[in-house]
């Protein structure tokens, strides 16, 4: 073929390919959920990861001993510290505390030390720092409070009263509709969850080990009495949304959990209502503290991700930037399988979260036994103490921001994820960890503290323009 012939052939081929390209472009433009202006639910388009390929017959966590259910009164730090702060009297000491706290602190004297430090040292300094430095973060606070301003009425009745549909409520069937097929029902429920705005959705068979033995207050259970798991809590539907990305990267001082908490909460309540209108019981378990169970292991069972070193679930699509909620029900469903995307191996090597944690709450060592399961154990007392040693919106979230998995879903980070998920040798984990540390470093963790604690009110990244109070407000 001479040059002229080649050029002619190339031209013809380009014309065909180009025309096809225009056709495909048109098709995608017509199909694109982003073009549904004002109602861009994405229709599940962001739950893109092919989980079937990485499905595992069992979750990554290993049962290594007899298991027991957690006690929300002591294991959930907000409740323990709330109880502690209300009941602690210097002259009475540990003897003046309710029995469950007394027993707990006798078994964990280091935690008592932390909780006392939190009460005596951190709180007074935190109030002073708020007074002095709060203005800079006032728009971040407004954003956080605004996102939390809309909330469904909390459930404060026990399951036998609140979970079941009632004829008196509009639309709710009192007899369950006969669903044709659990697989089709599962597909329907996932579609509805996506339509309601959930970014990720998965289904698990509820493991009783994840349900609190002694429940949280205000959920309608008798106080200080063990929770008998209702029979109708058969399946757990996990929904979840991410926190807004730019504020999230500006943690701890400019980020919030409230944006995703609020969205996930509303989705869970709507989904529960939908299920009740099919005639089945449903109960939402939602952030920040309206749970009867621990959500992350349920989400792991539902195949949404794996636990990372920092204790948070890591998902392929969102990294650990997800705030999940759960709806328990006995609607006939088919559970999803857990997945293995190489997180356990990656976290063995990485440790970026532990290196960047200002409170030292994240372990550098191996997984340990926690209530019969081998998993990473976070020092929640140290973690929560730091929440009140910075000026952010109730929380820290630095471990989420620095995690190599928590990157935006563009070609670069998706490629890194796929390489890491498909590398059985672990070589790419070391390489990717090294690149993450060189390319995306953060401040010295001490700088995240507020000045009373020797810090500089630093954030992992600069806040987006719409959170910079000094640009909009005269102080």
């Amino acid at each position: 073929m001479n040059r002229r012939q080649f050029l002619k052939a190339t031209g013809a081929a380009s014309a065909v390919v180009g025309s096809l390209g225009l056709g495909f472009y048109g098709y995608e433009a017509g199909k694109d959920p982003e073009s549904y202006t004002g109602w861009e639910t994405h229709e599940g388009a962001h739950q893109t990861f092919n989980r079937k390929r990485y499905a595992s017959d069992h979750p990554h966590y290993i049962k290594v001993g007899p298991t027991n259910r957690p006690d929300a009164r002591t294991e959930v730090i907000f409740y323990r510290r709330g109880d502690f702060m209300r009941n602690w009297k210097d002259d009475a000491g540990i003897g003046g505390l309710p029995e469950h706290l007394r027993v707990y602190y006798q078994q964990h004297p280091d935690v008592l030390e932390q909780d006392l430090y939190h009460l005596k040292e951190v709180f007074p300094k935190m109030r002073e720092d708020y007074r002095k430095y709060r203005n800079k973060f006032i728009l971040a606070s407004a954003w956080s409070n605004a996102m939390g301003a809309v909330s469904p009425t909390p459930i404060n009745q026990p399951p036998e009263e609140s979970d079941f549909p009632r004829r008196s409520r509009f639309g709710e069937q009192t007899e369950p509709l006969k669903m044709k097929n659990p697989l089709k029902t599962s597909k329907l429920i996932k579609k509805i969850a996506h339509e309601l705005g959930s970014t990720l959705v998965g289904i698990a068979k509820l493991n009783p080990d994840w349900v609190y033995l002694y429940p949280m207050r205000g959920r309608g259970f008798e106080p200080d009495k063990p929770l008998n798991i209702p029979e109708h809590w058969k399946f757990a539907i996990v929904v979840g949304t991410p926190m807004s990305w730019d504020p999230m990267y500006a943690n701890p001082n400019f980020g919030t959990s409230n944006d995703a908490y609020s969205r996930s909460r509303i989705i869970a309540f709507r989904l529960a209502s939908y299920i009740k209108q099919l005639g089945y019981p449903a109960r939402p378990h939602t952030p920040g503290t309206s749970y009867d169970l621990m959500v992350p292991p349920v989400a792991i069972d539902a195949g949404l991700g794996e636990q990372g070193r920092h204790g948070v679930m890591i998902t392929p699509e969102l990294g650990c930037n997800i705030r999940p909620a759960v709806v328990t029900t006995n609607l006939p469903l088919v559970p999803d399988k857990p997945i293995d995307i190489g997180v356990q191996s990656f976290c063995n090597t990485c440790k970026i979260c532990a290196e960047n944690c200002p409170s030292g709450a994240i372990p550098f060592g191996d997984r340990v036994e926690v209530r019969g399961y081998l998993r990473y154990k976070i020092d929640t007392a140290k973690c929560h103490t730091f929440w009140n040693q910075n000026l952010g919106n109730m929380g820290c979230r630095i471990c989420i921001a620095v995690c190599p998995y928590t990157r935006k879903a563009n070609w670069l980070h998706k490629a890194a994820l796929n390489i890491s998920a498909n590398d059985p040798t672990g070589i790419s984990h070391s390489v990717l960890t090294g690149l993450q540390k060189r390319f995306y470093p953060g401040p010295n963790p001490q700088k995240y503290y507020s000045p009373s604690f020797g810090g500089e009110n630093a954030s992992y990244r600069k806040p987006p323009w719409w959170l910079r109070a000094e640009d909009f407000i005269e102080f």
Binding site: Y25, F439, Y440
Partner: protein, 96 residues
């Protein structure tokens, strides 16, 4: 959907790629350098790496990660330049 995220954009990129290949072919013919398939393969690999470098810088600038853009641009850019010199020497093999 932004233009640079669209099918039209990639279609145009494809046209540019074709024109580049055509131009390279004609240039190599004028330099009297034979271009068997393995030289084309090396060239394509280098183009992918160079393209990765440009896209890496752009992506990190878009993410406001200036440190990553600068460091990555420098490291991958240097590798691109060094390998380009090596590639040119290889391509010249068999020059008449």
């Amino acid at each position: 959907m932004h233009f640079f995220n669209s099918g039209l954009f990639w279609f145009l990129e494809g046209i540019f790629a074709c024109l580049t290949m055509i131009g390279l072919k004609i240039w190599m013919e004028d330099c009297r350098i034979p271009m068997p398939f393995w030289k084309w393969l090396l060239f394509v690999i280098w183009v992918f790496f160079f393209g990765f470098t440009i896209a890496f810088v752009g992506t990190n600038l878009g993410e406001k990660e200036q440190n990553a853009a600068l460091l990555g641009g420098t490291i991958f850019g240097l590798i691109s330049i060094i390998t380009a010199v090596g590639l040119w020497r290889i391509l010249k093999i068999g020059k008449k």
